[in-house]
């Protein structure tokens, strides 16, 4: 894991001192709310329905146990004993006082954490594959490049006042676990025929009011030229992105307006003129890479007797192993997914106690490594198969062993109208109702992979456009209604979902999802996921089932 050196630490200290002064000036009336808002947003501080919310960056979703314990402590000290992991792999606290915020960011800085640029029209926290360094699928470790981007984008003098927010994802595997094509820039690490490392550069993805899937503007960018190329993209965007209409200000609108080829040509021209000044020297890349050298893995047999015995003995463990373990690149190890989607719980929420349990497990069994996924779950990327039964038992004790990864109850939901000032409708309770309908784990497994994603407003923090089943909350006369979409995907086969029909009232949504699932089970052919069946049949059978049968 990357360790902050004195430069990184000085930087955080300077930033927290600046923020403390800004808060003091606001409280003293020297800054108006209009002036203060963009400043607090660039430090992750929102004013929500009930209190301030602090969004803390988890750069490329990577945490160590000390950091997670500090988050738990902050949750207990300044919030109500819990936090909410987001679809941007950040952590939000929902009950923060403005007057406490400077102290909180000081505490964060003590463990090399911050809330810098987790909001505002600037470059946001970069996302990377949560299995980085653990999966055999990857071409290179995406964290190396994500860390380079983190530094480059932090308080970038030219790109801190963009037309709109800007999100970058880095993935290095054919299977995309970052939703790269829904980002403003998606970077996919590749090797050329001669073995050179580079990126496929995708630009102009984004959800929100007008969803777009990112388009490739360069098939292969030499990896060492990454930052100068990003600078060229950002400069074209900063100059030409729309500033007259907030709803048309994302880069996706510029790319769509110019067309992919023209946009790419402008970027290439800018890149050529601008030279390599932004690119990191090999020494710095090597320094960053050194922070991510693989841990010393033991030489273990690929089959663990302890693991196999537990699987035979305990059906609940067998189910967990089936759904929540993923293959590790080293024999005798596994990637362990920790679901933050217990049936009836708030998706993405973790109590301070749960955070501490995960921190302890990472320390005892997981090489001090914890990841946050954009699907609002946690991952222990390096666990010996021999230790998985003990990890499972401890997770189960803490309510963290729900065996539902990628199943219908593993639902993405934004905080919605329960917390968010922008929301039109609740998302959490809709997720809870759906999960409760699929509480029977046998049925959930029978249904198989099914990504349900719920947003409480058109801003789409819950990624509803790219859910296999997407649910969007809308407001009608102050009351909550929900529009359903089908067939979206955030993965390598990214697609925007198709509307099912008119909005449904709050109390009919879970029933409608149940009907959609039953329709799928009736229609599916062997081996088809929900998404595959939908792609084959189209919307018709689903539409008919929902609008004819729901009463």
């Amino acid at each position: 894991m990357y360790r902050y050196d004195s430069i990184d630490k000085d930087f955080l200290a300077d930033r927290t001192a600046e923020f403390r002064e800004q808060v003091a000036r606001r409280l003293a009336g020297e800054l108006s709310e209009d002036q203060f808002k963009p400043l607090r947003l660039r430090n992750g501080l929102y004013l929500q329905l009930h209190a301030y919310m602090l969004r803390i960056a988890v750069p490329y979703g990577s945490l160590n146990p000390t950091q997670l314990r500090k988050l738990a402590w902050i949750g207990r000290t300044y919030d109500k004993g819990y936090g909410h992991f987001t679809t941007r792999t950040n952590l939000q606290f929902h009950w923060i006082k403005l007057s406490d915020a400077p102290d909180i960011v000081d505490h964060l800085a003590s463990v090399d954490m911050h809330a810098i640029q987790t909001s505002g029209n600037c470059i946001r926290n970069v996302t990377a594959d949560p299995y980085a360094g653990a999966t055999s699928e990857e071409i290179d470790d995406p964290r190396v490049w994500a860390e380079a981007i983190r530094q480059w984008s932090t308080v970038h003098p030219e790109f801190n006042w963009l037309p709109r927010k800007f999100k970058i994802a880095v993935t290095a595997a054919a299977k995309d676990r970052t939703a790269a094509k829904t980002h403003d820039i998606g970077l996919n690490l590749k090797r050329s025929r001669d073995g050179a490392l580079g990126f496929e550069v995708m630009v102009g993805g984004g959800l929100g009011r007008m969803p777009y899937i990112g388009q490739t503007i360069r098939q292969f960018l030499p990896a060492t030229r990454l930052l100068s190329y990003l600078e060229a993209i950002l400069r074209v965007y900063n100059r030409h992105g729309r500033r007259d209409n907030i709803h048309k200000a994302r880069i996706k609108v510029l790319v769509a307006a110019l067309g992919r080829e023209e946009f790419a040509a402008q970027v290439e021209a800018e890149w050529e003129k601008n030279g390599a000044g932004a690119d990191l020297p090999d020494t710095e890349l090597a320094r960053i890479r050194g922070a991510f050298v693989p841990k010393s893995f033991e030489t273990l047999p690929s089959v663990s007797e302890t693991f196999e015995a537990a699987r035979l003995r305990t059906p609940a463990f067998a189910r967990f192993a089936r759904n929540n373990l993923k293959p590790h690149k080293v024999a005798g190890y596994a990637i362990v997914e920790i679901s933050l989607k217990a049936i009836g719980a708030t998706p993405g929420d973790a109590t301070s106690e749960q955070m501490e349990v995960v921190a302890d497990l990472a320390e005892r069994f997981g090489q001090n490594d914890i990841r946050v996924t954009h699907e609002q779950n946690l991952v222990l990327p390096h666990v010996r198969l021999d230790d998985v039964p003990a990890v499972w038992a401890a997770l189960a004790e803490a309510g963290l062993a729900t065996p539902n990864m990628n199943l219908v109850s593993d639902i993405i939901a934004c905080p919605g109208l329960d917390y968010c000032a922008l929301a039109n409708a609740r998302a959490i309770s809709v997720a809870q109702h759906i999960a409760e309908r699929f509480a029977d784990p046998d049925r959930a497994e029978l249904v198989g992979e099914l990504k349900v994603k719920i947003s409480g407003c058109i801003n789409a923090c819950g990624h509803h456009h790219v859910g296999h089943i997407g649910i969007l909350g809308v407001d009608k006369k102050g009351e909550e209604f929900y529009q359903l979409t089908l067939g979206g995907s955030a993965a390598e086969d990214a697609a925007v979902g198709q509307a099912l029909g008119p909005a449904l009232p709050y109390d009919k949504v879970a029933e409608a999802v149940d009907t959609l699932v039953e329709t799928y089970l009736r229609e599916r052919q062997s081996g088809e996921r929900f998404l595959d069946t939908f792609r084959r049949t189209g919307v018709a059978p689903f539409k008919e089932a929902v609008y004819a049968d729901v009463h």
Binding site: D8, A17, W152, P157, E158, F159, W161, R239
Partner: protein, 166 residues
């Protein structure tokens, strides 16, 4: 004369402004002036021919490339911030310094707040007209807030990746 903040060789100072900012509908007074791009394109050559210093005010929707040919004759390029959240001028300032090699004054005008001081200085601005009542000391402190920088920009600062190698 109105005052503005100047940055020269890394030092901030208060200075009397020798330039008059002239709107398109005003007649041009004697002395050094800053005029719009439109007016410059029509009258610039004549005004410069009178032996006075001429600066151009570029609005954020105007292309900095439009000045490329005339830059060697210009004393000032004033980059406008219609709102402090409109960040186009940061790109223009870098282009003026890094691409066009402009050595004259690059001035920040419009909705210019203390919070932008550091960004502006890094992008090559050398003159500032704060709209928020910031004093010289406020401005200097704000712009020197960060002891390190992560990126190369138009200023002479060594980015972190260079500092680390030293």
């Amino acid at each position: 004369m109105p005052m503005f903040i100047r940055l020269e060789a890394g030092v901030f100072s208060l200075a009397e402004d020798p330039f008059t900012a002239v709107g398109d509908e005003q007649s041009v007074p004697p002395g050094d002036v800053i005029i719009s791009l439109t007016r410059f394109q029509a009258e610039g050559e004549a005004l410069m021919g009178e032996g006075r210093a001429v600066g151009v005010r570029l609005e954020s929707h105007e292309e900095v490339e439009a000045l490329a040919y005339d830059l060697p004759q210009l004393a000032v390029v004033a980059l406008a911030f219609p709102k402090f959240g409109d960040g186009r001028a940061y790109s223009y300032a870098r282009l003026l310094r890094e691409r066009f090699g402009f050595r004259g004054e690059v001035r920040a005008v419009g909705d210019v707040l203390r919070e932008q001081a550091g960004y502006m200085a890094r992008c090559g601005f050398t003159a500032f007209e704060p709209a928020d009542g910031s004093t010289l000391e406020d401005w200097r402190r704000a712009s020197q807030r960060f002891r390190h920088a992560y990126q190369r920009s138009s200023d002479a600062r060594s980015p972190a990746f260079v500092e680390r190698g030293e």
